[in-house]
């Protein structure tokens, strides 16, 4: 899926442009989108919508992806054995703290690990957001996740917008700005964006 997405990016913008061009297709629509620069690490993801899923959370409750519609959503695939994932989890928590009360939700999806290992990990490093268990890799496979960590950013309609393979400091101001640009119009911080003419 993301190989195709990469091809699409190259076709439309050229590889160099991807690193520098303003956020256009990653926003809700040209007429209403603010002009925000995407951090180079985040790639535009404009392919088909990903498969919905139902997964258990750390407490054994079934969680539905669709229930998070209405908020910008980060779906973050990780594992506790993955070294970069550990430091990235701390930055996701900083993002969660910074955006408290904003229309942003974070779903951390652990891939193919023993429940007790994941629970032990979050007992030592608690987070405010939801942690889900993809025990048999079914969801990560259907989302074409081939490397950890991988994170997808969906808009409030759960439409695909951005993705990154590899770790990222989610508390960086430019990353936060890119996420805020996807908020429903009423929630966008005006002072940080410039409306397009």
């Amino acid at each position: 899926m993301r190989q195709s997405a990469t091809k699409l990016i190259v076709t439309l913008f050229g590889a160099a442009c991807v690193l520098a061009c303003p956020l256009m297709s990653a926003t809700a629509g040209p007429s209403e989108a603010p002009q925000t620069t995407i951090p180079s690490a985040l790639k535009i993801w404009s392919e088909r919508e990903q498969s919905p899923f139902l997964l258990d959370d750390l407490h054994g409750d079934r969680r539905d992806l669709q229930a998070f519609a209405g908020k910008v959503l980060l779906v973050h695939f990780f594992a506790t054995w993955c070294e970069p994932c550990v430091s990235e989890m701390a930055s996701l928590q900083r993002l969660a703290t910074t955006t408290r009360g904003k229309p942003l939700a974070i779903l951390a999806v652990d891939v193919a690990e023993v429940d007790l290992r994941v629970r032990a990990f979050f007992e030592k490093q608690p987070v405010d957001f939801t942690v889900l268990l993809d025990r048999d890799r079914a969801v990560s496979k259907s989302w074409d996740v081939t490397a950890l960590p991988t994170t997808f950013v969906l808009d409030a309609d759960l439409a695909p917008k951005l993705f990154i393979e590899g770790d990222l400091d989610w508390s960086r101001p430019d990353v936060l700005a890119a996420i805020e640009s996807l908020y429903p119009a009423a929630d966008r911080p005006r002072e940080k964006t410039t409306s397009r003419e």
Binding site: W81, E83, A112, V114, D115, L116, R117, A120, R135, D136, R137, T146, A147, L148, E165, G166
Partner: protein, 368 residues
């Protein structure tokens, strides 16, 4: 980084070729089939904080190859209410599945397996008459697994490796891939257990670090993708190396953390040929004084030997992938090399000694 490592490895290889004969002779790593050694491998499990339904699964030595491993009797004691030897239908891996009654205050189990092992060495310059693999065996050892696909980036990488040296025969292909894995991967001490073995992710990210379950799985995947049957053998080191390699043998009778997987490739005229590129990287990282260069005589000797030979100081459990634990709802495991147990229907973390206590000891006994 990959390319840099590859170039570095190549440069070192050239340098190694120019070393005087005396440098090569410094290390004699020459396993040869000889006397059988008899080992009792004992596994003890204790389920702490017992709760609800409790069961455990232990891999039993179930690779039977008359040239180098003979499995003897397995016995067990404990307070289980059931103990059943189960065989994985696809790979033949044998598993001891035990259950305890709910409310058992101190669930314990001790399993002892006697195994006979000896060195292996195949002279790849002298092909002989060896029965080919059956169609079923050939298919099994060429196909992909959940974590070791043989298409996509694995196939592309394999094709590049083979083409780069214009390898034509299966021996040449298997050797080229062995050299590539040795030169391009790295052993990472921080990897939990023996690694995951997610071969496609390794190639896609370019992170070719890990331990034996990663590095030898990469070898097996690339070799299968080249059309040459190969397999991982999941097992455990049980006695020290007789050739002075501290890193390639059990450090003591306590082998709780000595799990190790090796690999084999099936070559016409030779049969199953032992190989272990992951152990070459282990020698580089761990053999005193540690962090050896690829042209260190100890590394050169290990690299030369571990394509075609290995030391009989290790017991193979099985060659299985995607293993279902009978009686458990947990998804299939990538491989079964560690004891597994459930408490209150939740699988325990086999790499968390604080919460899942087990111990393995190995003792060499005199052959009767």
């Amino acid at each position: 980084m990959q390319r840099r490592e590859f170039l570095k490895g190549t440069a070192f290889l050239s340098l190694a070729a120019a070393l005087p004969g005396s440098a090569w002779a410094e290390v004699a790593f020459a396993p040869k089939p000889g006397a059988w050694r008899v080992v009792d491998l004992v596994t003890n499990i204790t389920i702490e904080k017992p709760d609800g339904k409790m069961q455990a699964w232990l891999p039993l030595p179930s690779v039977a190859e008359s040239e180098w491993i003979r499995n003897g009797e397995t016995t067990w004691t404990g307070n289980t209410v059931s103990a059943t030897r189960v065989r994985d239908p696809k790979y033949g891996a044998e598993i001891l599945h035990v259950t305890w009654k709910e409310g058992e205050a101190a669930p314990v189990l001790e399993v002892t397996s006697r195994v006979e092992i000896r060195d292996r060495a195949i002279d790849l310059s002298k092909p002989g008459k060896v029965a080919p693999l059956s169609d079923v065996e050939r298919k099994l050892n060429l196909e992909g697994t959940a974590l070791i696909p043989v298409d996509g980036i694995v196939k592309q990488t394999s094709d590049k490796i083979v083409a780069a040296v214009d390898a034509k025969s299966d021996v040449e292909k298997a050797r080229a891939i062995y050299d590539w894995v040795v030169e391009n991967t790295v052993r990472v001490a921080a990897t939990r257990g023996c690694g995951i073995g997610d071969v496609a992710a390794m190639l896609k990210t370019g992170n070719l670090g890990g331990k034996c379950a990663d590095l030898n799985a990469l070898y097996v995947g690339l070799t299968r993708a080249a059309g040459v049957p190969a397999r991982d053998l999941y097992g455990i080191r049980v006695i020290p190396s007789q050739f002075g390699y501290k890193s390639l043998g059990a450090g003591s009778a306590n082998v709780t953390k000595a799990q190790h997987c090796r690999a084999e490739v099936f070559l016409e005229g030779f049969g199953w040929v032992p190989t272990d590129p992951a152990d070459v990287r282990k020698v580089m990282l761990e053999e005193p004084p540690t962090n050896l260069a690829i042209n260190d005589p100890k590394v050169i000797a290990a690299r030369k030997t571990l394509f075609g030979a290995w030391e009989g100081n290790w017991i193979a459990y099985n060659t299985a992938h995607d293993v279902a634990l009978p009686g458990s709802t947990h998804p299939r495991l990538g491989f079964l090399m560690y004891p597994q147990a459930e408490r209150a229907s939740l699988l325990l973390d086999c790499h968390d000694p604080d919460n899942f206590k087990y111990a393995l000891t190995a003792k060499e006994v005199k052959a009767s």
